[in-house]
């Protein structure tokens, strides 16, 4: 089971290795806090969906498995949406349309279809946690690079007197704007994927 967890985080990383979930990646990786919020949302939805699907895999006939998955995933996304709207309205406004779009996030659908549908509950939970951590890790790394270079800031959660924004001297007044745009996101993803591919090839 630990193997399922680590494999999903590194060896089968959804962003860097499998190239899944790139749409929300482009949209929300402008700020570190958005990446953390989206990562948490995906973690909740994927863990819950994997649990339900692994429990119901013998009950759901193959012919209706796709609509059953969609209903399950959409329900948990709606729960995330309602909870965010109620208790973290600022984050909900920032993530905007990308919260409902978790329903069609390929990462979630891929794991439900290829793993939870064929395995028992515990391995499915470990796979979901690993995949989500891998996805969140990728999101946060890319958001960190984009925000630091594209805006000259690092935005985290405000605590007490700390407003949650760390300003990077030098970059705050002269950021490299392209990193904040979708093209910048693709550029960062491409560079990181190239680096990881080079590292894997070197290791072999």
């Amino acid at each position: 089971m630990v193997k399922d967890l680590t494999k999903a985080i590194f060896k089968e990383n959804s962003i860097f290795i499998m190239g899944l979930g790139l749409c929300p990646l482009l949209g929300v990786s402008t700020k570190v806090i958005n990446a953390l919020g989206m990562g948490a949302g995906v973690l909740f939805v994927l863990v819950c969906s994997n649990i339900i699907i692994s429990l119901l895999k013998d009950f759901i006939p193959s012919k209706i498995r796709i609509p059953a998955y969609i209903v399950t995933i959409a329900s948990f996304v709606a729960i995330v949406e309602m909870v965010m709207q109620a208790y973290t309205p600022g984050l909900f406004r920032t993530l905007g349309v990308f919260v409902p779009l978790i329903v069609v996030n390929c990462v979630i659908f891929a794991r439900v279809e290829s793993f939870a549908n064929k395995n028992t509950v515990m391995p499915s939970i470990m796979d979901a946690i690993g995949t989500s951590i891998g996805f969140a890790l990728g999101l946060v790394v890319i958001a960190f690079i984009r925000e630091v270079f594209g805006a000259g800031t690092i935005t985290l959660f405000p605590i007490g007197n700390f407003n949650g924004v760390i300003e990077i001297p030098g970059l705050i007044n002269a950021p490299i704007r392209i990193f904040g745009l979708a093209a910048g996101a693709l550029f960062v993803v491409g560079i990181l994927q190239a680096f990881i591919n080079w590292y894997i090839a070197k290791k072999k």
Partner: protein, 184 residues
């Protein structure tokens, strides 16, 4: 036939379970969501109001754009302006704004309440600076509703989100005419 019905029933069971779960979460979160909306409305009213005190909300029937309005009263009881809830057609859905107009239809201030535009592209109307091109217009000078009516700098500020701009501008222009036609 019997097999198809069984499959349909199984899907119905899954849907029913999902509905029950969503209903339960809705009951728990709805009070907090309503409270957040009330606070957001108060903050928006405070943000667009310049002088006077907003009165009770008046619902507008039969208008797709103006949902309701708040007359703003001065201390002597006269109406100084109207704060309207206007709805524009955005790229990804409704653009719900609160806009304050002088009695002659000039826009005083506006804020975005809710939208589903693309983050990073269509969310520019969340910022107060976005409305500078509309403020002070509506009476003698019309509110710009086309890109060609903007300066180069203003035109640059809406690049990539023209449909959002048209939605915002048309709704604000409609609101201006609505106030002018009240005849007060």
């Amino acid at each position: 036939m019997r097999k198809s019905i069984l499959i349909g029933l199984k899907l119905a069971v899954v849907c029913m379970g999902a509905s029950l779960l969503l209903g339960f979460v809705n009951v728990i979160t709805l009070p907090a969501i309503e409270e957040n909306r009330r606070i957001a409305l108060q903050n928006a009213l405070a943000a667009v109001n310049r002088v006077g005190t907003p009165g009770e909300m008046v619902i507008v029937e039969g208008s797709r754009v103006v949902r309701n309005f708040y007359p703003v009263f001065l201390d002597d009881g006269t109406i100084s302006s109207y704060i309207l809830t206007v709805v524009g057609d955005g790229y990804a859905g409704d653009l719900i704004m609160l806009a304050n107009y002088e009695l002659n239809g000039n826009l005083i201030a506006a804020v975005m309440m809710e939208h589903t535009e693309t983050p990073g592209i269509g969310d520019a109307p969340e910022r107060a600076v976005y409305y500078e091109k509309f403020i002070g217009r509506g009476a003698d000078v019309p509110i710009p509703t086309r890109r060609s009516q903007l300066t180069v700098a203003q035109s640059d500020s809406i690049a990539g989100a023209t449909i959002t701009f048209i939605g915002v501008a048309n709704a604000l222009a409609y609101g201006s005419n609505f106030v002018k036609n009240k005849g007060e």
